[in-house]
């Protein structure tokens, strides 16, 4: 493991980072809280939902800043990806049609399910049998089909 350098010795982040620094800090604090939360009374499959959620939110935040609002530079965007502020693989999916709102990568892994299908949250609301409230097992998503 490489030594962690002191902040003053590190290369400064690209310009524009100061604009989003505070919000990223909020996200990382939330993530820390979620990581440190007790899982004593939580069902086992739900233990990681919060973490999935926050990482999704943060990735979405970075994605929108760069692609929708064009608020950050390419350098900064790449720097953010490199430093783990956003999930590049998830963002790569969001760029494809049909996956614009994808909640997490696990939910499209057909090979990980018994019937070689995607997660229930990928089913459009219109095709659900009745108005049943679903929360998917992997990340607690309530539906992330593009048509919803």
């Amino acid at each position: 493991m490489p030594a962690i350098r002191h902040a003053s010795k590190r290369k400064a982040p690209p310009a524009g980072f100061t604009d989003i620094e505070d919000d990223l800090l909020i996200f990382s604090n939330k993530m820390k809280d979620a990581e440190n939360e007790t899982t004593v009374n939580v069902p086992r499959h739900q233990a990681h939902w919060k973490i999935f959620q926050i990482s999704h939110q943060r990735s979405r935040y970075v994605y929108e800043l760069y692609y929708d609002k064009e608020a950050i530079s390419k350098q900064l965007y790449e720097w953010l990806l490199k430093n783990g502020y956003a999930d590049a693989m998830l963002i790569a999916k969001w760029k494809k049609t049909g996956y614009e709102k994808l909640c997490c990568l696990r939910c499209v892994q057909t090979k990980e399910t018994n019937f070689n299908s995607t997660c229930i949250c990928r089913v459009p609301k219109a095709q659900m049998k009745e108005d049943q409230a679903i929360e998917c097992v992997s990340c607690g998503c309530r539906g992330c089909a593009s048509s919803d």
Partner: protein
């Protein structure tokens, strides 16, 4: 303002063995521990409906409590009013209405019904037990005080007397007009306007010994009192309390309450809220329509005013909940619309910020650092020491400058401090002379020197006390700035501001409009509720005919059969 002279008279004492209790609803009810009976009707000591009241020791008192007229047309003439407000009920206990009989079988919640009530009564000359009763709505009926009978249709035998009475009244009216409101002799005077404010005195006169049944003065007094009730809104709240103490009777309090309720229901509301006002509002609403763009713009104004960071995520904004309290938050109806507007706004705002930054000269990070150096650097400290000492300062942590640069500046500065003053001064003057006239001229303020000067190490080498006079002197020798104009921007700003004001006004108008709508709706709702209550009460009354009530009714029918 006239004050009501109405006084809640203590209810008659309870019969032996009965105790009074309050139900959770606020009604009082009565319980007899011996017989384990409970009732809403007040069991008075001398059982009023059954036995005649004992000969009163004090005639005034008995008069107050059991005025012989008792229930006026309890089973007599009933009539519907134009407003379908239910039926006129049970008189006012013989215009006195405390204690007496009548109305026993009426449920208490029949409050808002009667809109009509007896107003004045006059003995018919020549036909003594009969009196002519005028109601509030201008109708009249005849009433036999001895037999407790009343008729809408005037029996033939009374017609002559009534004719005479009418003539007399017309005459009196003419006299009263000529006398210009001089109080007429109270005996047969019909005008309730006779003494509008003297009801209290009148009540005293009653106590002074007018036990006679057909003393019309007393009735007049009562009428006056009641009319005051109806006119005096302050009374309305009060009437509820005494109303609860007397659950049996349909008496003055009840009537006052009903009047109040009626007034609330329709009579007073339009007057209170004022039609002219509403017209105004409508006008305003017509004049300033809220378009979708306007509401979006309002929401954007809100975002601007709260200094929302356009880079922050939407969730943060929602979680903070700062905006919710603002009126402009409601300009947009749904959260989705808000989010869309917010997105649009962030896009615009970020664009603006970007442009601003591009236009703005790059804020040189060296300027604050050099100012910091001038303040804190001493030849006594080496760079590492200096760095350690001030490592918490923002100038030392700024990521725009590297440590190497900082170190270089520090060393240079320390070295320059050792040079003679004259060299430093000449260096400064060469620096100033090198500035073009567009950035440095005689209009430049010494506090706003061009960044090129501020970011130079030569500028900080001299102590401010010696440097500033030099700089000022040099500036004063300079020529005026070359002309340049940028007033278009200010015009734009003015336009922007006007637009914004207009939107604000539109929002306010809409709010007012909405409030008015709400009030209207509430009113209609209450009106509907009142109606419903009435109907319910009517049904309850219909269901509630007891044996006694039926008998009463039949008896009345029999009685009515005889004279007519």
């Amino acid at each position: 303002m006239l004050k009501s002279t109405h006084k809640a008279v203590a209810p008659p004492p309870l019969a032996e063995g009965w105790t009074e209790h309050k139900a959770p609803t606020g009604h009082s009810y009565y319980y007899n521990a011996a017989t384990k009976q409970s009732t809403y009707t007040r069991p008075v000591a001398p059982p009023a409906p059954v036995t005649a009241p004992p000969p009163p020791t004090n005639p005034n008192e008995s008069f107050l409590q059991y005025k012989g007229v008792g229930s006026l047309p309890s089973a007599g003439p009933t009539f519907n009013n134009d407003g379908s407000q239910g039926q006129f009920q049970g008189g006012r206990g013989g215009f006195q209405g405390r204690g007496g009989r009548g109305g026993h079988d009426r449920p208490r919640d029949s409050r808002p019904q009667p809109t009509d009530k007896p107003k004045t009564r006059h003995p018919i000359p020549g036909c003594e037990p009969w009196v002519l009763v005028h109601t509030k709505l201008g109708r009249r009926f005849v009433y036999n005080t001895e037999k407790d009978q009343s008729f809408w249709r005037i029996p033939d035998k009374l017609k002559d007397g009534i004719l005479a009475l009418d003539q007399q009244r017309i005459k009196e009216k003419a006299e009263a007009l000529s006398k210009a409101k001089e109080p007429v002799d109270s005996g047969e005077a019909p005008g309730a306007a006779q003494r509008p404010g003297q009801a209290a005195a009148a009540e005293k006169t009653v106590e002074e010994g007018e036990a006679a049944e057909d003393s019309s003065e007393y009735e007049e007094v009562e009428v006056t009192d009641d009319e005051e009730d109806e006119e005096n809104p302050a009374k309305r709240q009060r009437t509820e309390e005494p109303g609860q103490e007397e659950p049996i009777e349909f008496n003055e309090d009840d009537i006052a309450f009903q009047l109040a309720a009626m007034g609330q229901e329709y009579g007073l509301d339009p007057g209170e809220y004022g039609d002219d006002n509403m017209e105004e509002w409508e006008e305003g609403a017509e004049g300033l329509e809220m378009t979708a763009e306007d509401s979006a713009a309002l929401f954007k104004d809100l975002l601007n005013d709260f200094g929302v960071n356009p880079y922050s995520p939407w969730e943060k904004l929602v979680e903070e909940g700062k905006l919710v309290d603002d009126l402009r938050y409601t300009a947009l109806p749904t959260m989705k619309a808000r989010k869309e507007t917010w997105e649009e706004w962030t896009r615009e705002r970020i664009k603006v910020l970007k442009e601003q930054r591009a236009r703005e000269e790059k804020k040189d990070p060296r300027i604050p650092f050099l100012a910091f150096l001038q303040k804190n650097a001493t030849p006594k400290l080496y760079w590492p020491e200096f760095k350690r000492k001030y490592k918490k300062e923002s100038e030392m942590r700024d990521s725009a400058m590297t440590d190497k640069e900082r170190e270089k500046f520090y060393r240079d500065h320390i070295n320059r401090l050792k040079l003679p003053q004259s060299t430093l001064k000449s260096d400064l003057s060469t620096l100033l002379k090198a500035q073009p006239l567009s950035t440095l001229n005689n209009a430049t303020l010494p506090s706003h020197l061009p960044p090129a000067v501020l970011a130079d190490i030569r500028y900080i080498s001299l102590d401010p006390s010696t440097r500033d006079p030099l700089v000022e002197g040099y500036i004063s020798t300079l020529a005026p700035p070359p002309e340049s104009a940028d007033e278009g921007e200010s015009e734009e700003a003015v336009k922007e501001r006007k637009d914004r004001e207009r939107r604000q006004k539109a929002l306010e108008d809409r709010e007012r409009h909405v409030a008015e709508e709400k009030r209207k709706q509430k009113k209609s709702l209450e009106f509907g509720k009142g109606k419903l209550r009435e109907e319910e009460a009517e049904i309850a009354r219909a269901m509630n005919i007891t044996k006694k009530g039926l008998k009463d009714h039949l008896m009345d029918l029999d009685d009515a059969g005889k004279p007519s």
